[in-house]
């Protein structure tokens, strides 16, 4: 049963990440996802200190606010200080992340958070933190519910705003010309990325969540020319990485989160070689056929 809980949680997390990752890479904002996933750390610590618990709603809110703030700072340095985007991303997230690290070490006694868990996640402990109903019934791990709700919210967001997100991603100038606010949808998307990142935090940690945001989406990008198919394939790649990653970790007796990220990288490599349209393998065959 514990295996199943871990695999399910990982799958739900990676599916949300994969969906949002598709938008991120097409907006050339993969590194913004990276930045947010790190920058939300102080938000989590502050939420922790204020609420005194690992209450998910407070954490999600705290992180959501910091995520928006990060997005705003990146835009601000880029637009107002004329800093290149990559430089403004670099400045913003390292600074916020550092603040988070300092806060954790300062409040180490008061906060039930340690650096390893924040950085690398602790998905192996997911089955331990269960929800017990008033009647005393164990209804399963909390992380499973949190990641399930986040996936539902992400799906709902993409389903409702699909065309707005699609258009502002492909052609922002045309979108604003027909009266769709590019800023609004930019921040909405970044808000969703922040929430998802935090929800994934407890299971896979700050560093590996980036792998889940980018690798499955990048894999799907190589495999299809249709955006909706890309969303589906990205989820599939995330799911396969989660399942195979778990068993790889069991087999190696290593870190589960690390193994999942490794598998998502492997899938990308396979897509890179065997993709029908862009793959190295088929290109070679085509070249030889000529």
């Amino acid at each position: 049963m514990n295996d199943l809980y871990i695999i399910l949680t990982a799958t739900l997390v990676s599916a949300s990440c994969a969906l949002l990752g598709c938008f991120l890479i097409l907006r050339r904002m993969a590194m913004v996802g990276d930045a947010i996933s790190h920058a939300v750390l102080p938000g989590i610590v502050i939420a922790f200190l204020l609420s005194g618990s690992r209450d998910s709603v407070t954490m999600l809110l705290g992180a959501g606010i910091i995520g928006m703030f990060t997005t705003f700072l990146i835009e601000f340095f880029h637009k107002k200080a004329r800093l290149q985007t990559d430089a403004s991303i670099g400045v913003t997230f390292t600074w916020l992340f550092a603040i988070g690290v300092v806060m954790i070490s300062l409040f180490a006694g008061k906060v039930d958070l340690d650096q390893d868990c924040v950085l690398y996640g602790e998905i192996a402990y997911v089955p331990l933190d269960v929800i017990i109903t008033q009647g005393g019934v164990n209804i399963g791990p909390k992380a499973l519910y949190v990641s399930g709700i986040i996936l539902l919210v992400t799906l709902l967001f993409i389903f409702l705003a699909y065309r707005k997100l699609f258009l502002t991603t492909f052609d922002p100038a045309f979108a604003s010309a027909i009266g769709i606010s590019t800023t609004l949808w930019h921040y909405a998307l970044m808000g969703a990325v922040s929430m998802t990142t935090v929800a994934s935090f407890e299971s896979v940690g700050a560093i590996l969540v980036v792998a889940l945001l980018i690798a499955p989406a990048a894999t799907a990008y190589l495999l299809t020319d249709n955006f909706k198919t890309m969303l589906g394939l990205a989820c599939l790649a995330g799911t396969i990485s989660s399942i195979t990653g778990y068993y790889l970790a069991v087999w190696l007796d290593g870190s589960i989160a690390g193994a999942i990220a490794t598998m998502s990288g492997m899938l990308f490599g396979i897509a890179m070689i065997f993709s029908p349209a862009h793959g190295l393998f088929f290109r070679k065959i085509k070249a030889e056929a000529h």
Partner: protein, 262 residues
């Protein structure tokens, strides 16, 4: 005559450095209008400011005597082709359907009627054979025609087109001009950024000459003169000799009366 576009005292600046200064102009309804000027003159900026994509430093823009927000569905825009990533996972149909988004409610999906409009517009630009083609697999001219079809699908009254003829072959360019001419005959207004000075007198009823400041705006016959060209393009000598040629050949048959008689 009704005005389609009125721009008053418009200034647009990037980093406090103005790239358009004190532009004042009005454009009557039902005209095919050309905007010319050297690279960096602010042609794209003028269009973006008129469409509300860029913030104005001063002045105002009125479309059909109203602010943009009231008439947005009547206005359409064709961005410069290089402004988007053509490797995007989308088909030609996906892109043309974007032209219908403004007409759809917040959460409505495109219906069959929208697809029919899109299909019709693709036929008009000769792209009906490419509906399901991935946009990265189009030639430059085909991408341009896809953008044009998307604008047509908006069924607007006023069209801003940023260099719609860039990378388009001569035959297609002629066909598109004919199409634009048909639209202006239905009292729609089409405003086109154009670089080929040779064809200006042939294509446009009205010309806007721009170089950071407005040099001239008016009917092509009276406005597209060598003095104005010199003021627009500066003393680029080789260009000006070409222009002298241009002026001499100006007694070309004038547009619609002769060329587009049904």
């Amino acid at each position: 005559m009704n005005t389609a576009l009125e721009i008053h005292d418009l200034t647009v600046a990037f980093d406090r450095k103005p790239v358009l200064w004190n532009i004042d102009l009005t454009i009557p309804q039902g005209k095919l209008v050309g905007i010319v000027g050297p690279n960096g003159a602010g042609k794209s900026t003028l269009i973006k400011a008129a469409m509300g994509i860029l913030p104005l430093s001063s002045g105002y823009v009125k479309l059909y005597d109203q602010p943009l927000e009231h008439v947005r569905e009547r206005v359409s825009y064709v961005p410069q082709r290089e402004s988007v990533d053509w490797d995007f996972p989308a088909s030609v149909m996906d892109v043309v359907l974007m032209g219908r988004y403004a007409k759809l409610g917040l959460f409505k999906r495109p219906r069959k009627a929208d697809k029919d409009v899109a299909m019709d517009c693709l036929k008009k630009v000769g792209m009906e054979g490419f509906i399901n083609r991935q946009i990265s697999q189009l030639s430059g001219g085909q991408q341009q025609r896809t953008f044009l079809a998307r604008a047509l699908a908006q069924q607007a009254d006023l069209y801003f087109m940023d260099e719609p003829f860039a990378g388009v072959d001569a035959a297609t360019e002629k066909a598109i001009v004919t199409l634009l001419r048909e639209m202006t005959n239905q009292n729609k207004t089409v405003i086109v950024v154009h670089h080929d000075l040779q064809s200006v007198s042939q294509y446009f009823d009205w010309i806007v000459m721009l170089n950071t400041r407005l040099v001239a705006s008016g009917p092509t016959e009276t406005t597209f003169t060598s003095e104005n060209l010199e003021a627009t393009y500066g003393g680029k000598l080789t260009l000006l000799t070409d222009v002298a040629d241009l002026m001499r050949r100006e007694d070309y048959p004038s547009r619609e009366e002769n060329v587009f008689k049904p």
